[in-house]
Amino acid sequence: MTEATQQFFATLPARAPEVLRTPVAGTLRIDLSEGHRTEHWLVRMRPGAVEVDQGVEPGDATWYCGADLFERLVTGRAQAISAVLRNESTFRGDVVLFLAFRLFFPSAPGTRDPREVAREHARWTR
């Protein structure tokens, strides 16, 4: 696994109180494949808290994703729902867990605050 992915999982518990505010509960298993190797990550979610583990026990939902795509997701260079729509990554089980998990993915690198951009051009601001 890449460093970005490792680091992403390592920071989830600390980020959970801010990110996971909705009443979500369950375990999402993420199968990250690279060639013939697959790593199984278990993300146990509840409001304000996440535990990350590795293992093959079945979750409430399973998300199959290439290691390369996952790295693009955790660095903001890809978007999760479109990846599922084009079947590059697939998913089964409780979709609420997938929708909650995607909240951890960041904006693309170099994205600017739209307000800052708009205020550069408009003449009327307070």
Partner: protein, 683 residues
């Protein structure tokens, strides 16, 4: 345009010509569609090499049709020795029973041919399907033809099977048949569509409703939907017809989301058979007094897909409620931004408004608690990312100039937001109704904070902000010389001074100063805006006015229903009644099914409302319109644990009786009667 016939079940639909045939069309989505992909683009019947001619069509049901046909062009003496019945139904998949009848006394032989093909076009590329990046294959099998499309891992498939023996080739099936005297021949063609997902399984097979149900199950479900809704008894036949038709169409437009496995409402056939934030919220607001069970899945889905990051391609920001979710190839490969797209500046405030309205009717505090964080995030969006310029208003400007929406309000066509003289304003723009929705959302958010989240400090803050917004708005948007509210502010903060129907939405939101409500109503029902069939989107003396301009002159039933609600809120019952009357009168000309929009011509000029050329029909928020108008006429308003009933039925409409209105009170009945007739004397 040739008349087209549509059948649908949820977001699977088939559009064919009056013979039941489908030919590749570049200007209109004909064919079989599911989840934004066309699965059949050719479906054409030939008998002995000849096309058929339609005698009649039975399309009383939304999910099935029957075509009665004869070969060749009709002549003066129609003396057909043979006729054909195509009987088809949609229930997740498509099935067609094809029967050929020999009316002669001799045995006859025929060659029946069905041409079959699929271009697997995305709904966004039907005008240009030549450039598809994947590849198609056609594989003939035993009495079956399998058509597939693959692009990387994206995989769609159509399989057609025949119950009768067929000679199958890559372009269709041929049936050389012999039929005895006065005999008949039949085959059942079944068209299965597959959307491949995890582990090569059909995505829809993983859904609780499993995508395909029998037609009997669909009919039972529709009947149950209608049976659960309140019963309408009335003297006004158009009203009764519109109510019946609306319930039927709303039942048919429900589909099962791939993403959440819940039943949602598609917005409109054929272009909008998917989830829209704005459409689903307005439809929910309209139908809430009748079928409240439709609302929780919609709110839950919108909350689940709430924006969480800044994404310029999708116009996404944290807390924003989506505009449009699509499931097709163009969304998947990011050729279109609909995964989902967030280019709407109104859906976020409307989300809060709907949740509050829903709680008022149902008392479902649990849902309000579950969605607390989402609602807070939505309210925060209004004051942060929504207020692009930091001026205390909600603004919009797309960050995806290539394919994003220029106008991110309900009038989202490119020329909808204009000055009175027709010029187009600079970006960003702040349209007036966005400010009204923001005001209402803050007040309703405050009520929820106090009632359900035990946060009076937050409630106080929201109420204070709402009051300040109202004051500011009435100062900056009011045009003293014209005596109405500007359509928008441009990026200089100058008013965009066109006279539009948007001022009616302001009444609905409550942001209009009481002293100005009467003047606003006079404009709405004055000759410049009111056509006689309804309120035009743009007044007929404005620079860009066009009676068949999508948002610059047409009359939208949904718009009118919100305006009627707004007039009622300010106690302008007679004015609200005039809109109700005009809409029900118009609905007669569409067999009770109000289209997306109709032309803005004067009522005296045309005698009947002229349908907008490419209007979507059925369309959810048009189907919801008669329901909301009934609420307005009967004056139905929840108050605490009770339902206030304060009817004002327009003259000439007679008795209106709505039985078993569901809500926190259980079920109650409402009765209204036109004032002209007075109360009936007791026998």
């Amino acid at each position: 345009m040739k008349e087209l016939v549509s059948i649908l079940d949820g977001n699977t639909f088939l559009v064919s010509d009056r013979r039941g045939d489908v030919e590749p069309s570049l200007d209109f989505p004909t064919g079989l569609f599911a989840f934004d992909t066309r699965f059949l683009s050719t479906w054409l019947l030939l008998i002995d090499g000849e096309r058929l001619h339609a005698l009649s069509i039975d399309d009383a049901e939304s999910h099935r049709t029957r075509y009665f046909l004869v070969p060749g062009e009709p002549t003066h003496f129609l003396d057909a020795k043979v006729s054909v019945i195509r009987s088809r139904a949609i229930s997740g998949d498509l099935s067609e029973e094809l029967t050929v009848l020999n009316h002669s006394g001799q045995e006859m032989s025929f060659t029946v041919r069905m041409e079959m093909a699929s271009d697997f076009a995305d709904i966004f590329e039907i005008k240009d399907t030549q450039r598809k990046k994947g590849h198609n294959t056609a594989a003939p099998g035993e009495n079956s033809l399998r058509l597939t499309y693959r692009r990387d891992a994206f995989h769609r498939e159509t399989t057609i099977t025949s119950s009768a023996a067929a000679q199958v080739d890559r372009r269709g099936m041929t049936f050389p048949i012999m039929i005895g005297p006065h005999g008949e021949w039949t085959t059942r063609l079944t068209v299965n569509v597959v959307i491949y997902g995890a582990r090569g399984q059909d995505v829809r097979s993983l859904l609780p409703f499993a995508g395909s149900r029998t037609t009997a199950a669909i009919e039972a479900e529709h009947a149950e939907f209608v049976a659960r809704a309140p019963k309408l008894g009335c003297d006004c036949e158009p009203m009764a017809g519109a109510y019946r038709r609306s319930l039927t169409d709303l039942a048919a437009l429900r589909y099962e989301s791939i993403a959440l496995g819940v039943r949602l409402m598609a917005a409109g056939l054929p272009w909008f058979m998917t989830l829209f934030g704005r459409d689903s919220i307005f439809t929910s607001l309209q139908v809430l007094p009748f079928v409240p069970e439709l609302i929780p899945p919609t709110l839950t889905m919108l909350a689940g897909l709430q924006g969480h990051r800044v994404d310029d391609f999708r116009d996404e920001e944290p807390g924003k409620i989506l505009h449009e979710l699509r499931y097709g190839e163009s969304a998947g490969f990011e050729e279109q931004p609909h995964s989902p797209y967030y280019g709407a500046a109104d859906s976020t405030a409307l989300f809060v408004i709907l949740l509050d309205e829903y709680e008022r009717w149902t008392g479902d505090v649990e849902l309000v608690k579950r969605l607390e964080f989402s609602v807070r995030a939505a309210l925060t969006w209004i004051d942060t990312y929504g207020d692009l310029l930091g001026t205390g208003y909600v603004w919009y400007q797309t960050r995806n100039p290539k394919i994003g929406l220029e106008n991110q309000c309900w009038k989202d066509s490119w020329d909808a937001i204009c000055y009175s003289d027709g010029r187009l304003p600079s970006f960003p723009r702040a349209t007036c109704e966005l400010q009204g929705y923001a005001y209402d959302a803050k007040l309703r958010g405050a009520r929820l904070a106090r009632l359900c989240w035990n946060d009076p400090v937050y409630a106080d803050r929201l109420e204070r902000e709402a009051a300040e917004l109202k004051e500011r708005f009435n100062r900056d948007f009011w045009l003293p010389d014209k005596e109405y509210y500007a359509l928008a502010l441009d990026s200089d903060g100058s008013p965009v001074d066109a006279l539009t129907s948007n001022i009616g939405h302001l009444l609905w939101s409550g942001i209009v100063d009481d002293s100005r409500a009467q003047r606003v109503a006079e404009h709405l029902l004055g000759p410049r805006l009111f056509s006689g069939w309804g309120v035009r989107t743009l007044a007929d003396d404005q620079g860009r006015y066009n009676p068949i301009g999508y948002h610059v002159g047409t009359v939208w039933p949904f718009d009118n229903s919100i305006i009627a609600w707004g007039l009622w809120k300010y106690g302008l019952r007679e004015e609200a009644g005039r809109i109700c009357e005009s809409m029900f009168a118009a609905s007669r000309y569409f067999f009770g099914r109000l289209p997306e929009a109709f032309a803005g011509y004067e009522r005296d000029l045309t005698d009947y409302p002229v349908e907008y050329p490419t209007a979507c029909s059925p369309q959810a928020w048009s189907a919801g319109t008669p329901l909301l108008l009934l609420r307005v006429m009967l004056g139905l308003e929840p108050q605490g644990e009770h339902l206030i009933i304060d009817p004002y039925v327009p003259a000439g409409m007679g008795r209106v009786e709505l039985l078993d209105i569901p809500g926190r009170w259980g079920r109650v009945d409402a009765l209204g009667r036109s004032r002209d007739e007075g109360p009936r004397r007791p026998d």
